[in-house]
Every structure is written in C-alpha cells, then in structure tokens.
Amino acid sequence: MDFLVFQYPMITVQACLDGILLGVLFALIAYGMALQWGVMNIINIAQGDLVILGGYIAYFMYLYGIHPAWGVIVAPVIMYFVGIAIYKLVINKVVDRDLFISILATFGISILFMQLMNFAFGADVVLANSGYGTTMLFDSNVVLPNSKIFSAFISILFAVCLVIYMKKSKLGRAIRATAQNARAAKILGVDTEKVYAATFGINAALCGVAGALISITFTIHPYMGLPYTIRSFMIVIVAGLGNLPGVAMSGMGLGVFEEFADYILGTEFRIGSVFLLLVLILVYRRFKLSRKREYLK
C-alpha cells in the first residue's frame, strides 16, 4: 500500500481522466442493462459475457489482419443476432416469471458462454492492438492512450444514436410503450413478443460495441464477464431505471472510484472493491428506503 495519490497530485488527475474514460464504457453496458430491465423486467447475469464475446469478435478481426476498430461495426451486428437467438431459446420463457428465475436462467447462460468461449478462444488474456499511440497532457505528466479516448467517443456516439432512435423511430416508441405498460401496449396493437426480442437484440448489440472497445483499450478473458454484469447492475440501481443522465454520471463515478481503489488498495483488490461497493450501495439503499417507510408509518 502506498499513498502516491496524495503525494503526487498529477496521479489524481490521471486517475480521474482514466476513470471517466472507462466509466463511459460502463455506462454504455449499463444502458443496455437498464433497457432490458425496464422493458422486460429481466436481470441478465450473462450481460458481461455478451460483452466479452463482443470483445472476441474484434480480437479475431485483429488476428485476421483487419483493424480492430472495425469491430465496433461488425460486433453489434453479430451480437444482435446472438441476442435474438438467446431470447428465442431461453429468455422468452422467463419473461413473465419470477425475477429470480430469470437471474438463475441467465446465470446458466453465463456459465455456458464462459466455458464455450474458453474452448473456442483459449484461456489467455488477450488484447487487440489498435496502434493508436498516446496523448500526453500537462508536460507529459498525464498519459492517455488514444484508444481510450477513441472508445469513449464511440460509446457516446452509440449512446446518443440510440437515444435518438428510441425517441423517434416506430420501434423505439413501441419499446417505450411496452416498458410503461406491456398489457396496454398489447391491446393497442404492439407485438410485444417482437419488441422483447428486439430489446434483447439491441442490448446484446450494445454489449458487442462495448466489448469491441474493451478489447482495444483493455484486455479480455473468457472468465472476466461477471464484474461487468455487477458494474452495470450497480450503475442502474444508483441511477434508477430510465434516468439516462444518471446512468452516464454514475458510470463515470464508478470508473473514477475503481481507478482510485486500484491506486490506493492495489490491483489485487480492484474487483473485490467493486463487489464490496455493490454490497455497500445496496445496504445504504435499504436503510434509506426503510427510513422512508417509517415516515409513512
């Protein structure tokens, strides 16, 4: 344990910038989580594994000599169909059921994906080298890889496009109507089954984009999915469903928290601190809610 952060202020700047760029990516994944949670009332434990799968698509393009940045376009297309397939096979049978059933079923999918990816791609930690170089700020005291800036930019682009799509398009309106009241939407002629499938597909596509960006900026590994699920879950419960600026803000906050935890506690406690933060947030939320309940009494 060293407290370099306090002795050397530039590291603070570095950690904040790193965290914000990382947090934008988390927010993108969390947006997909919020979408399916709001629309279908499903908590998808396999979210992180979809992200990693998207990452492997970009990595394979890199292996075959295509620049991995194109994965940002290819991965969501493939992942959309993967998402639809998962929906048709499993999710449509758990949509109306108890939430725990959906958690357990997607846990099963998560284990399945982990192991299949382990078979297909091997258990090595890999990354797709984008060759983007770095940017120096403040007299080279702060080093930012260009790939991180690129990934944050692309995430924001996708998020904005999706928000506009949800507001303007017919499918977007149908999705929002289903989220508000599925039965009423059905009565008014919305094919909710199709809407659910599309929602899950869009979520998987978002995971694909995020995964491709993660394979460029960080590393991917078949078993690294669960922390991404937990992060996106955490961001959604902090922000609340349907609160997009909140998702972006809490995503960045989480990113900064992680960078600082990394510096202060050490890298081996990084994932542990994320999970511990989840527990703390849930406990805080529970006490806040119970106080509210007492007011009502």
């Binding site: 908590i43 357990l104 192991q115 078979f119 937990i230 081996e268 999970f275 989840l278 527990v279 529970r286």
Partner: protein, 349 residues
C-alpha cells in the same frame, strides 16, 4: 410413523455401511454428504423463507479458511505455513491433527454464525432480486478479498494439514466420511426439529407475504436473521470438513466458489423441490450422481453441461422432483383429494 422409522433405520444402516460396501467411493460419498448439507441449508432461505441467496457460499468459504487456519495456527506459526513465509513443512502428530480439527470445526461453525448475525440486519432488509444480487456480490467480494490476504496464502492457496499416519491407509477416507455423515445427520435432525415448530410457519409466512406477516405482529427481521444464522452454522461446518477433505484451499476455486458450489446449492435444492424437507436430499443425490457421471465421461464439457442443466431445470422443472411427486400422488403427502375434482382436472388436461 412405523414406515418412517424403518426408512430412517435403513438410511442410517446404509450410511454406516456405505464406505465398506463401496470402498472406492469414500471421497465421493463424503462430498455427497457435504452437498446434501449445503442443499438443506440453502433450502432454509430459498425454499422456506423465500429469500433466494447466492451468498451462503460466504459462510462455507469462511468455515473452510477458519478451520484450516486454526488447525495450523494452534501448533505452528500460520504465516510460515503458507506461501508468504516460504511454505515451510510442519508435520502434525495424530493428536495435534485431531485436536486442531475439533477446535477448528467449532470455530468454523461459530464465527460464520456470528458473521451472519452481524450482517443479517443490513442484508436481509433487501427484497427479491436486490437480495439475490447483493448476496452474489458478497460471495464474489469475499473470494476476491481473501485472494489478496497474504497470511492465508493469498492467490497461491493454502494447503490444509495432511492427514497424519495412524497406521492404516484407509483411515483418512473413513475419518472424513464418518465426520461428514455425522454432520449430515446432525443437520437433518436439527432442520427436521426446526421444521416441526412454529418457526417454520413464520418462515413460510415471510415467504408468502412479508408485509402481511409483519402486520400480524411477527418480528420478521428477527426470524430472518435467526434462519440465516442456522444456515451459516451448518454451512461453516460443511466448509471446514470440505477443506480438510480436498486438502487444498484456493480463494476463488475452492472456498468462495460462487460459480460452482454457490450455484450447486441453489440448483440441488430446486432440482429436489424447494420448501420440502426431503427435496434437497433427493436433489443433491441425483445432482451429484449426474455431475460425477458428466465430470468423468465428458471431461472439459462439464461446465457447458452445467449451464445447460441450470437453464433446463429452471425453465422446465422449477417445481423439482418433490413438487412433481406431490402433484402426481397428493395422497402420500397427506393432502385430502376429492376424486371427482381430480377426474375433472385430468379431463381438463
């Protein structure tokens, strides 16, 4: 009543004779006992109380680490035993081994119970999926954090004391088998006794409608915490034995193995039938046989099979074996069935 006594006697005799009938399967039988204990304890939360937890693995792992640490630490410096101190080899004499094991198991049972009581008030206030995800996070966090603590071996793992030489090669297997069988009987009898009291009705009331139960004057929080503490007690014991049985503790792959053991307990209880006394026992037995078959014949594909199995059980078989039997033969479960009603139901189907 008479039939029940014969059944219990038959199981007891079979349990006592099993290691001599199947000497090659002693370790597997001990693991089966541990799995049944875990399924029964999960069922207290998930089945009777309606709180679907992934976090009982926390107590299991805690018990495992505590038992091994106490067993080593009572006689030798713990820091030198593990990797951090150069991994020196000390040899336990038989007396030291068994004394250490006994004290270790007591600690492994008591400390998780206290931990459950301490965190219970905060965690058990959460409802539904928040509780499920929170406990999932708790289990993984414990694994990640214990993987960073040097004195218990950090990421390198922790070798539990090897079984002392007491003259017979079979002694190790028999010792661990009878120990786990004893814990299984204790757990089963304790849970059976608990289920015949008002306590079970309170837990069921919490499951069916917690707010209403509270409105009826039941201090739900108190009973939820007590229920969790009972689970933690037996989970810790099971973990302590499992550590000695496996002989090696790793933070994320053996102790706080949320991906395997944490899901297994849920799956076993659901497969057997949630909210029944015998369901977890049957579920764990079927699951263990299936799992070992798969682990042996399709090595490498076991997790694929596990993932598919989870999805299939959860979607198509959520009632479990006991639930299915209950639907098929309701008379055996003490339910009065109107014949005309039943015929009408069959016709509808």
């Amino acid at each position: 009543m008479n039939r029940n006594i014969i059944l219990y006697a038959a199981i007891l005799i079979f349990g006592l004779a099993a290691p001599f009938i199947f000497p090659a399967f002693k370790v597997q039988l001990s693991i089966l006992c541990i799995l049944i204990v875990l399924a029964i304890t999960w069922n207290i939360q998930g089945g009777e109380m309606g709180y679907n937890t992934f976090g009982n693995i926390l107590f299991y792992g805690l018990g495992m680490y505590l038992c091994a640490s106490v067993q080593v630490g009572m006689f030798f410096p713990l820091a030198e035993w593990t990797e951090s101190g150069g991994e020196k080899t000390f040899v336990h004499t038989p007396t030291q081994f068994f004394q250490g094991m006994a004290v270790g198991l007591v600690v492994a049972a008591v400390v998780p119970t206290i931990v459950a009581g301490l965190i219970g008030y905060s965690i058990l206030g959460l409802r539904g999926h928040y509780f499920a995800i929170c406990t999932l996070g708790l289990g993984v966090a414990a694994g990640e954090i214990s993987g960073g603590i040097e004195i218990i071996g950090a990421g390198q793992g922790f070798t539990t004391p090897p079984f002392p030489n007491v003259g017979s090669l079979e002694a190790r297997g028999e010792f661990f088998y009878f120990l786990s069988f004893l814990v299984l009987i204790l757990t089963f009898l304790a849970v059976k006794a608990i289920y015949s009291t008002r306590f079970k009705l309170i837990l069921n009331a919490i499951r069916d409608n917690e707010d209403k139960a509270e409105a009826m004057g039941i201090e739900t929080m108190k009973y939820k915490i007590i229920g969790w503490m009972i689970s933690a007690f037996f989970c810790g014991l099971a973990g302590g034995i499992m550590g000695g049985l496996v002989g090696y503790i790793d933070s994320t792959d053996v102790a706080f193995d949320g991906r395997e053991m944490g899901v297994f307990m849920v799956l076993m209880a659901i497969l057997g039938g949630k909210g029944t006394l015998w369901g977890p026992v049957i579920g764990a037995t079927v699951f263990h046989i299936f799992k070992e078959g798969f682990w042996t014949f399709f090595l490498g594909w076991q997790y694929v099979a596990l993932g598919v199995l989870i999805v299939v059980i959860v979607i198509y078989f959520p009632e479990g074996i006991m639930g299915w039997l209950r639907e098929k033969y309701p008379e055996r479960f003490g339910e009065v069935v109107d014949e005309a009603d039943r015929k009408a139901q069959v016709e509808i189907k």
